[in-house]
Protein backbone atom coordinates (compact mmCIF):
# COMPACT_ATOMS: atom_id res chain seq x y z
CA UNK A 1 0.00 0.00 0.00
CA UNK A 2 2.09 2.92 -1.25
CA UNK A 3 -0.50 5.72 -1.37
CA UNK A 4 -1.92 7.23 1.79
CA UNK A 5 -5.06 5.27 2.70
CA UNK A 6 -7.19 8.38 3.05
CA UNK A 7 -6.12 9.46 -0.42
CA UNK A 8 -7.21 6.12 -1.86
CA UNK A 9 -10.53 6.19 -0.05
CA UNK A 10 -11.19 9.77 -1.07
CA UNK A 11 -10.74 8.75 -4.71
CA UNK A 12 -13.11 5.80 -4.25
CA UNK A 13 -15.67 8.01 -2.52
CA UNK A 14 -15.51 10.46 -5.42
CA UNK A 15 -16.04 7.63 -7.89
CA UNK A 16 -19.02 6.27 -6.00
CA UNK A 17 -20.54 9.66 -5.43
CA UNK A 18 -22.58 8.78 -2.34
CA UNK A 19 -19.73 8.36 0.15
CA UNK A 20 -17.43 10.91 1.68
CA UNK A 21 -14.52 10.38 4.03
CA UNK A 22 -15.01 11.97 7.43
CA UNK A 23 -11.79 13.59 8.53
CA UNK A 24 -11.01 13.57 12.22
CA UNK A 25 -14.10 11.50 12.98
CA UNK A 26 -13.30 8.20 14.67
CA UNK A 27 -15.28 5.23 13.40
CA UNK A 28 -17.98 3.89 15.71
CA UNK A 29 -16.75 1.32 18.22
CA UNK A 30 -16.67 -2.25 16.92
CA UNK A 31 -19.36 -3.47 19.29
CA UNK A 32 -21.76 -0.81 18.04
CA UNK A 33 -22.31 -2.41 14.66
CA UNK A 34 -25.61 -4.01 13.85
CA UNK A 35 -24.35 -5.50 10.58
CA UNK A 36 -20.80 -6.09 9.36
CA UNK A 37 -20.28 -7.23 5.78
CA UNK A 38 -16.92 -8.42 4.50
CA UNK A 39 -15.42 -9.16 1.10
CA UNK A 40 -12.24 -11.23 0.85
CA UNK A 41 -9.83 -10.54 -2.00
CA UNK A 42 -6.90 -12.57 -3.21
CA UNK A 43 -4.61 -13.30 -6.14
CA UNK A 44 -2.65 -10.92 -8.31
CA UNK A 45 0.14 -11.54 -10.78
CA UNK A 46 2.75 -10.91 -8.11
CA UNK A 47 0.95 -13.31 -5.79
CA UNK A 48 0.20 -12.94 -2.17
CA UNK A 49 -2.18 -10.01 -2.42
CA UNK A 50 -4.95 -10.90 -0.05
CA UNK A 51 -7.07 -9.33 2.58
CA UNK A 52 -10.56 -8.40 3.61
CA UNK A 53 -12.60 -5.25 3.18
CA UNK A 54 -15.27 -4.80 5.82
CA UNK A 55 -18.17 -2.42 6.14
CA UNK A 56 -19.70 -1.84 9.57
CA UNK A 57 -23.14 -0.29 10.00
CA UNK A 58 -24.73 0.86 13.22
CA UNK A 59 -28.38 0.21 14.12
CA UNK A 60 -30.89 1.28 11.50
CA UNK A 61 -28.39 2.13 8.77
CA UNK A 62 -28.80 -1.17 6.92
CA UNK A 63 -32.56 -0.69 6.89
CA UNK A 64 -32.17 2.87 5.60
CA UNK A 65 -29.79 1.63 2.89
CA UNK A 66 -32.26 -1.06 1.84
CA UNK A 67 -35.10 1.43 1.82
CA UNK A 68 -33.14 3.72 -0.49
CA UNK A 69 -31.92 0.95 -2.77
CA UNK A 70 -35.33 -0.63 -3.22
CA UNK A 71 -37.54 2.41 -2.75
CA UNK A 72 -39.45 0.63 -0.03
CA UNK A 73 -40.54 1.96 3.34
CA UNK A 74 -40.08 -0.90 5.82
CA UNK A 75 -37.46 -3.43 4.77
CA UNK A 76 -37.06 -6.45 7.04
CA UNK A 77 -33.75 -7.30 8.70
CA UNK A 78 -32.77 -9.84 6.03
CA UNK A 79 -33.23 -7.22 3.31
CA UNK A 80 -31.22 -4.73 5.38
CA UNK A 81 -28.47 -7.33 5.77
CA UNK A 82 -28.42 -8.00 2.03
CA UNK A 83 -28.26 -4.27 1.31
CA UNK A 84 -25.15 -3.93 3.48
CA UNK A 85 -23.60 -6.99 1.78
CA UNK A 86 -24.20 -5.37 -1.60
CA UNK A 87 -22.75 -2.06 -0.43
CA UNK A 88 -19.65 -3.95 0.76
CA UNK A 89 -19.42 -5.68 -2.61
CA UNK A 90 -19.56 -2.40 -4.53
CA UNK A 91 -17.19 -0.56 -2.20
CA UNK A 92 -14.70 -3.45 -2.14
CA UNK A 93 -14.60 -3.72 -5.92
CA UNK A 94 -13.85 -0.06 -6.25
CA UNK A 95 -11.33 0.06 -3.39
CA UNK A 96 -9.41 -2.86 -4.83
CA UNK A 97 -9.24 -1.20 -8.24
CA UNK A 98 -7.47 1.77 -6.67
CA UNK A 99 -5.53 -0.12 -4.04
CA UNK A 100 -4.04 -2.67 -6.45
CA UNK A 101 -4.44 -1.20 -9.95
CA UNK A 102 -1.84 -3.48 -11.53
CA UNK A 103 -3.11 -6.75 -10.10
CA UNK A 104 -6.08 -8.71 -11.35
CA UNK A 105 -7.48 -9.67 -7.98
CA UNK A 106 -10.46 -11.89 -7.31
CA UNK A 107 -13.16 -10.84 -4.91
CA UNK A 108 -15.22 -13.46 -3.12
CA UNK A 109 -18.94 -12.90 -2.67
CA UNK A 110 -19.69 -10.70 0.35
CA UNK A 111 -20.56 -12.38 3.63
CA UNK A 112 -21.66 -11.31 7.06
CA UNK A 113 -18.75 -11.23 9.46
CA UNK A 114 -17.43 -9.91 12.73
CA UNK A 115 -15.56 -6.64 12.72
CA UNK A 116 -11.87 -7.49 12.12
CA UNK A 117 -9.64 -7.52 15.16
CA UNK A 118 -6.54 -6.52 13.21
CA UNK A 119 -6.86 -3.79 10.62
CA UNK A 120 -4.57 -2.00 8.19
CA UNK A 121 -6.86 0.98 7.69
CA UNK A 122 -10.11 2.05 9.30
CA UNK A 123 -12.08 5.13 8.29
CA UNK A 124 -15.48 6.60 8.93
CA UNK A 125 -17.56 7.36 5.85
CA UNK A 126 -20.56 9.62 5.58
CA UNK A 127 -23.48 8.26 3.59
CA UNK A 128 -26.99 9.58 3.12
CA UNK A 129 -28.10 6.96 5.63
CA UNK A 130 -25.54 7.77 8.34
CA UNK A 131 -21.93 7.14 9.26
CA UNK A 132 -20.48 3.75 8.37
CA UNK A 133 -17.04 2.30 8.90
CA UNK A 134 -14.71 0.77 6.37
CA UNK A 135 -11.74 -1.40 7.26
CA UNK A 136 -9.04 -3.01 5.16
CA UNK A 137 -7.51 -5.89 7.05
CA UNK A 138 -5.46 -9.05 6.65
CA UNK A 139 -7.55 -12.08 5.56
CA UNK A 140 -10.20 -12.92 8.13
CA UNK A 141 -11.03 -16.49 8.97
CA UNK A 142 -14.19 -15.93 10.99
CA UNK A 143 -17.30 -15.98 8.81
CA UNK A 144 -20.70 -15.71 10.38
CA UNK A 145 -23.34 -18.10 9.08
Amino acid sequence: MTRPPLDILREVAERLGYLSVLHGCPPPSADGYEIVAAVDFHGGQHGGQSGTISIGCGPGIGAALAANMLATSKPDFETAREAVLELANVVAGNVIAVLHPDDELRLDPPHQARWPVTTRVVVALQTDEGVISLAVSPPQSAHLP
Partner: protein
Protein backbone atom coordinates in the same frame (compact mmCIF):
# COMPACT_ATOMS: atom_id res chain seq x y z
CA UNK B 1 -50.86 -4.66 -44.86
CA UNK B 2 -49.26 -3.25 -41.74
CA UNK B 3 -46.45 -5.12 -40.07
CA UNK B 4 -45.81 -4.47 -36.41
CA UNK B 5 -42.67 -5.95 -34.97
CA UNK B 6 -42.27 -6.07 -31.22
CA UNK B 7 -38.92 -7.15 -29.82
CA UNK B 8 -39.90 -7.86 -26.28
CA UNK B 9 -36.92 -9.00 -24.31
CA UNK B 10 -37.09 -12.02 -22.06
CA UNK B 11 -34.53 -11.14 -19.42
CA UNK B 12 -32.70 -13.24 -16.85
CA UNK B 13 -30.97 -11.34 -14.02
CA UNK B 14 -28.16 -13.38 -12.46
CA UNK B 15 -26.78 -12.01 -9.20
CA UNK B 16 -26.27 -13.54 -5.77
CA UNK B 17 -27.66 -10.39 -4.16
CA UNK B 18 -31.45 -10.32 -4.03
CA UNK B 19 -31.25 -6.58 -3.39
CA UNK B 20 -29.21 -6.03 -6.56
CA UNK B 21 -31.52 -8.27 -8.61
CA UNK B 22 -34.48 -6.21 -7.47
CA UNK B 23 -32.65 -2.94 -8.15
CA UNK B 24 -31.87 -4.06 -11.70
CA UNK B 25 -35.41 -5.29 -12.25
CA UNK B 26 -36.70 -1.94 -11.03
CA UNK B 27 -34.34 -0.07 -13.36
CA UNK B 28 -35.58 -2.17 -16.28
CA UNK B 29 -39.17 -1.54 -15.31
CA UNK B 30 -38.58 2.21 -15.30
CA UNK B 31 -36.74 2.18 -18.62
CA UNK B 32 -38.32 2.49 -22.03
CA UNK B 33 -36.94 -0.90 -23.01
CA UNK B 34 -39.42 -3.40 -24.36
CA UNK B 35 -39.41 -6.04 -21.64
CA UNK B 36 -41.53 -9.16 -21.97
CA UNK B 37 -40.47 -10.88 -18.77
CA UNK B 38 -37.86 -10.76 -16.03
CA UNK B 39 -36.65 -13.87 -14.22
CA UNK B 40 -33.93 -14.12 -11.61
CA UNK B 41 -31.19 -16.58 -10.66
CA UNK B 42 -28.83 -16.45 -7.69
CA UNK B 43 -25.69 -17.89 -9.27
CA UNK B 44 -24.23 -19.13 -12.54
CA UNK B 45 -25.27 -22.74 -12.02
CA UNK B 46 -28.90 -21.79 -11.40
CA UNK B 47 -28.72 -19.52 -14.45
CA UNK B 48 -27.48 -22.39 -16.63
CA UNK B 49 -30.43 -24.50 -15.54
CA UNK B 50 -32.73 -21.59 -16.35
CA UNK B 51 -31.37 -20.88 -19.84
CA UNK B 52 -31.49 -24.58 -20.75
CA UNK B 53 -35.09 -24.81 -19.63
CA UNK B 54 -36.50 -21.66 -21.15
CA UNK B 55 -35.57 -19.24 -23.94
CA UNK B 56 -34.09 -15.87 -22.96
CA UNK B 57 -32.95 -12.95 -25.07
CA UNK B 58 -30.77 -11.16 -22.59
CA UNK B 59 -28.76 -12.15 -19.52
CA UNK B 60 -27.71 -9.49 -16.99
CA UNK B 61 -24.81 -11.16 -15.24
CA UNK B 62 -22.90 -10.51 -12.03
CA UNK B 63 -19.35 -11.88 -11.81
CA UNK B 64 -18.55 -12.60 -8.19
CA UNK B 65 -21.04 -15.26 -7.18
CA UNK B 66 -20.89 -18.51 -5.24
CA UNK B 67 -21.22 -21.98 -6.84
CA UNK B 68 -20.48 -20.79 -10.40
CA UNK B 69 -19.20 -17.28 -11.05
CA UNK B 70 -20.25 -15.11 -13.96
CA UNK B 71 -17.13 -15.67 -16.01
CA UNK B 72 -17.54 -19.45 -15.79
CA UNK B 73 -21.19 -19.08 -16.77
CA UNK B 74 -20.29 -16.93 -19.77
CA UNK B 75 -17.60 -19.34 -20.96
CA UNK B 76 -20.02 -22.27 -20.63
CA UNK B 77 -22.72 -20.45 -22.57
CA UNK B 78 -20.34 -19.46 -25.37
CA UNK B 79 -19.16 -23.08 -25.70
CA UNK B 80 -22.73 -24.38 -26.03
CA UNK B 81 -24.03 -24.30 -29.63
CA UNK B 82 -27.59 -23.92 -28.37
CA UNK B 83 -26.78 -20.93 -26.15
CA UNK B 84 -23.76 -19.25 -27.68
CA UNK B 85 -25.76 -16.40 -29.24
CA UNK B 86 -27.32 -15.29 -25.99
CA UNK B 87 -26.87 -11.59 -25.36
CA UNK B 88 -25.02 -10.97 -22.13
CA UNK B 89 -24.45 -7.74 -20.22
CA UNK B 90 -22.08 -8.10 -17.28
CA UNK B 91 -22.93 -5.89 -14.28
CA UNK B 92 -20.02 -5.93 -11.87
CA UNK B 93 -17.77 -3.95 -9.58
CA UNK B 94 -14.90 -5.41 -11.59
CA UNK B 95 -12.75 -2.80 -13.25
CA UNK B 96 -9.47 -4.48 -14.11
CA UNK B 97 -8.93 -3.86 -17.84
CA UNK B 98 -7.60 -7.37 -18.51
CA UNK B 99 -10.69 -9.01 -17.12
CA UNK B 100 -13.03 -6.62 -18.88
CA UNK B 101 -11.20 -7.22 -22.16
CA UNK B 102 -11.59 -10.97 -21.62
CA UNK B 103 -15.32 -10.54 -21.05
CA UNK B 104 -15.66 -8.41 -24.18
CA UNK B 105 -13.82 -11.06 -26.19
CA UNK B 106 -16.51 -13.45 -25.01
CA UNK B 107 -19.04 -11.10 -26.53
CA UNK B 108 -20.36 -9.47 -23.37
CA UNK B 109 -21.25 -5.86 -22.82
CA UNK B 110 -20.14 -4.38 -19.51
CA UNK B 111 -21.64 -2.06 -16.89
CA UNK B 112 -19.67 -1.01 -13.85
CA UNK B 113 -21.35 -1.08 -10.42
CA UNK B 114 -22.62 1.20 -9.07
CA UNK B 115 -24.55 2.19 -12.16
CA UNK B 116 -27.29 4.64 -12.93
CA UNK B 117 -30.46 3.22 -14.50
CA UNK B 118 -29.65 4.96 -17.78
CA UNK B 119 -26.23 3.28 -17.90
CA UNK B 120 -27.72 -0.19 -17.73
CA UNK B 121 -30.26 0.81 -20.37
CA UNK B 122 -27.45 2.06 -22.61
CA UNK B 123 -25.52 -1.18 -22.20
CA UNK B 124 -28.60 -3.21 -23.12
CA UNK B 125 -29.14 -1.01 -26.16
CA UNK B 126 -25.51 -1.62 -27.20
CA UNK B 127 -25.97 -5.35 -26.68
CA UNK B 128 -29.22 -5.64 -28.59
CA UNK B 129 -28.48 -3.01 -31.17
CA UNK B 130 -31.91 -1.48 -30.62
CA UNK B 131 -32.99 1.83 -29.18
CA UNK B 132 -35.23 1.90 -26.10
CA UNK B 133 -38.79 1.59 -27.20
CA UNK B 134 -37.72 0.67 -30.71
CA UNK B 135 -40.04 -1.58 -32.61
CA UNK B 136 -37.41 -4.10 -33.50
CA UNK B 137 -34.33 -5.72 -32.07
CA UNK B 138 -31.03 -6.68 -33.67
CA UNK B 139 -32.42 -9.76 -35.33
CA UNK B 140 -35.12 -12.35 -35.10
CA UNK B 141 -33.26 -14.14 -32.33
CA UNK B 142 -34.17 -11.40 -29.91
CA UNK B 143 -37.54 -12.86 -29.25
CA UNK B 144 -39.16 -10.64 -31.80
CA UNK B 145 -42.78 -11.31 -32.45
CA UNK B 146 -44.26 -10.29 -35.75
CA UNK B 147 -47.91 -9.49 -36.01
CA UNK B 148 -49.34 -8.90 -39.39
CA UNK B 149 -52.55 -6.99 -39.79
CA UNK B 150 -54.20 -7.54 -43.11
Amino acid sequence: MTTTVTAKLRVLIVDDSRVMREMIARALGLSALPIASIDQAGDGAAALVAVRAKPYDLILLDLNMPVMDGEQFLATVRADPQLRRLLVVVCSTESHPTRIRRLRLLGAEFVHKPFKPEEITAAIVRATGSAPGAATGADGALGAETEEDA
